[in-house]
Structure formats: structure tokens, C-alpha cells
């Protein structure tokens, strides 16, 4: 690296390395979601129907999520019941 390059790099942060870091994070996150099982939306629908037999809830009030934790998966079910 020449002396000139040294001053130039001091002036502005290297945006390419910022780009790389941001991409690594988002791509890893999206790859995780990609591996979610196909049955999830259908299961969410059926769970919603069962809950609706007893309580009036909307589609948006039920959240189903699968999280990978090492060698075990955690199914998280979140239902917001009307006050």
C-alpha cells in the first residue's frame, strides 16, 4: 500500500466491508427461515380453526414459529386472546 493509499483509506470508511458484513448477517438469517417446514402455514390455519371454536380470534392473532437450537427444534405458538 502506498503512502497515498494510506491517507485515502483514512478519509473514508471502506463501504465494501460494511456491505459484506450486512450481507453475511441477512443471508444467514434468510437461509434459516428457508429451512422452515412446508407444513407450517397449514398447521397455523388448523390451529386457528380449533381456537376459533372457543374464542373469536383473527388470523393475525396467531403466530407460529419454529426455531432451531442446536440439535432440537422449538415450536413456538403465540395467541393473542381478545380482552
Amino acid at each position: 500500500m502506498s503512502l497515498l493509499d494510506y491517507f485515502r483509506s483514512k478519509q473514508s470508511p471502506r463501504s465494501a466491508s460494511t456491505a459484506k458484513e450486512r450481507l453475511q448477517v441477512i443471508v444467514a438469517h434468510e437461509r434459516g427461515q428457508r429451512n422452515q417446514p412446508d407444513y407450517l402455514p397449514r398447521m397455523q390455519q388448523e390451529i386457528l380453526e380449533v381456537i376459533r371454536k372457543y374464542v373469536p380470534v383473527e388470523q393475525d392473532d396467531v403466530h407460529v414459529q419454529v426455531d432451531e437450537n442446536g440439535n432440537c427444534s422449538v415450536l413456538e405458538l403465540n395467541v393473542t386472546l381478545p380482552g
Binding site: 485515502r8 483509506s9 471502506r14 463501504s15 465494501a16 466491508s17 456491505a19 459484506k20 450486512r22 450481507l23 453475511q24 441477512i26 443471508v27 434468510e30 437461509r31 428457508r34
Partner: protein, 272 residues
């Protein structure tokens, strides 16, 4: 046995059609009979890049619907022996390409050609999925830029889960990374992702790096695939990529910034 190669990217405007035209032409130049199919229904453009837009009579959808034979729809390239183009339809009907119809046309093409190059539309919707569904190999065209890299990763996910090979549990689609619009000067200034960065994130084998070049626009203005311009760096880089696609070993060129001579700088010359 014919090979089906999809040229895809997710993101638009990264150089899919330019790359399809160049690689299809390169394969034919090397003696392999090749057809390039435009899958971009409603936004036909391969014909313009190949310079045969005034010779389009029938298209892909006409063949699927039985309104024309394959022979009537195929356009023979006038410059390169053994090269044909199957243009996309300009219909606005998004459902014009059916899996059954596309499969039938591809089977017929497989008997006549060594290589079938599928120029995918942008996006991850049905059109793009149809273009990659039957592929044996995929060339993922990526610009060294955040949105393009992210979209390439998404299209890789689709290749790995929704292609025919994935569905039937066959050997996976062979993936190739083609980095286009590469500007070595900006990379060494730390303003652009390097080839190594893109390779590290996408983790697929590198087929080629096409330098950002004024010759690419010039070629599309004239309707001549840039690979035919043997003097242009972009043309040479595509040539190398085609050789690698055919299994030959070629060192990557044009990855480093070219120092311009004093006189050239003084005169403000220089080409991309």
C-alpha cells in the same frame, strides 16, 4: 444428451440476457448446437440483444399452444452456425407458460440440440421458477452489490428446493456463479465487494467475472452478442467462462485494476 442451462439472478438488470446471448453464442462457436430460449413472457428482449427482433414471427407460447411448429418459431442466427433463438411471447397472460407445455417443447428441443440455454425473467415468481424448473445447470448472474447478492442467494434456495431435480431427489442442479459489471478499480478502493467476498457469501463455484465495460452497451446497441467482440475484455471474459463451462481450465483475467499509462491518463483515454 442435451444439457439444459438456466441463466438466472432474482434481481433484474444484472445482465441475464446479455449473458445468455454471450454464452449461447460461445457454445455454438465451439461447435455445440445451441438454442437460447427467452422465458420472459410479456417483456421479450433476447431478440433485441441477438439482433433478430425483425425476424420474429412465432414465439414460445405459440408453440406451446400448437399455433406454430417449433421449426416455424425457431430463428436461425445469421452470424453463428448451429445457433437458434426461441423468442418469448409478448402476451400479457402470465399463465401462458404451463409446466406441461414447457416440458413438451424442451423434450423436442433436446433431440435437436446439445445445449438449451434458458434466459430467465427477473423475480422469483412463476416465470422465473418455470425457467429454472427443468435445468441441469444454473448460471447465477450477480453484480457485486448488496441487493443482487441477496437475491442470488434466494434464487439458489429456489433451485435447491423447487427445481425438478430437487423435487425428484435427483443429483442437484449444478450451480455456477457469474459476477458481472465488475470494476476492479472500485474494488481496490474498497468501494465494491470483491469476487472473493461474493464467492464467500454465496458459496458456489465461480464460472467467470465479466468486467464492467462500455463494450457491453455498444454490443447491445448493435444487437451483437459481446462475445463476438474478441478485442473487448468483456468478450474475452465471456469466452473464458464458456470454456470453463465446458470443463476447461482457464485462469481468471481482468480481476485487477489496470494501471493506465501516463500518456493515456493525460489524454483522458481508456476504455472500461
Amino acid at each position: 444428451m442435451a444439457r439444459i442451462i438456466v441463466v438466472t439472478s432474482g434481481k433484474g438488470g444484472v445482465g441475464k440476457t446479455t449473458s445468455s446471448a454471450a454464452i449461447g453464442t460461445g457454445l455454438a462457436q465451439r461447435g455445440h448446437s445451441t438454442v437460447i430460449i427467452d422465458f420472459d413472457v410479456g417483456l421479450r428482449n433476447l431478440d433485441l440483444i441477438m439482433g433478430c427482433e425483425r425476424r420474429v414471427v412465432y414465439d414460445f407460447v405459440n408453440v406451446i399452444n400448437g399455433e406454430a411448429t417449433l421449426n416455424q418459431a425457431l430463428i436461425k442466427d445469421k452470424r453463428t452456425e448451429g445457433l437458434f433463438i426461441l423468442p418469448a411471447s409478448q402476451t400479457r397472460d402470465k399463465d401462458a407458460l404451463t409446466e406441461e407445455g414447457v416440458s413438451k417443447v424442451l423434450e423436442e428441443l433436446k433431440e435437436r440440440f446439445d445445449y438449451i440455454v434458458c434466459d430467465s425473467p427477473a423475480g422469483i415468481e412463476k416465470g422465473a421458477q418455470m425457467a429454472l424448473y427443468f435445468a441441469d445447470e444454473a448460471i447465477v448472474v450477480t453484480n457485486p452489490e448488496v441487493s443482487s447478492v441477496r437475491d442470488s442467494d434466494r434464487i439458489l434456495g429456489i433451485l435447491q428446493s423447487k427445481s425438478l431435480r430437487a423435487r425428484e431427489g435427483q443429483e442437484p442442479v449444478k450451480e455456477h456463479l457469474l459476477v458481472t459489471r465488475y470494476n476492479p478499480a472500485r474494488v481496490s478502493a474498497g468501494e465494491m465487494l470483491s469476487v472473493a467476498d461474493v464467492e464467500e457469501i454465496l458459496a458456489i463455484p465461480l464460472l467467470g467475472v465479466i468486467p464492467e465495460s462500455q463494450d457491453v452497451l455498444k454490443a447491445s446497441n448493435q444487437g451483437e452478442p459481446v462475445i463476438l467482440n474478441a478485442d473487448a475484455q468483456a468478450g474475452q471474459a465471456y469466452s473464458d467462462a464458456v470454456d470453463r463451462l465446458l470443463g476447461e481450465d482457464r485462469a481468471h483475467r481482468f480481476l485487477d485494476e489496470q494501471k493506465q499509462g501516463f500518456l493515456k491518463r493525460l489524454l483522458g483515454g481508456g476504455r472500461g
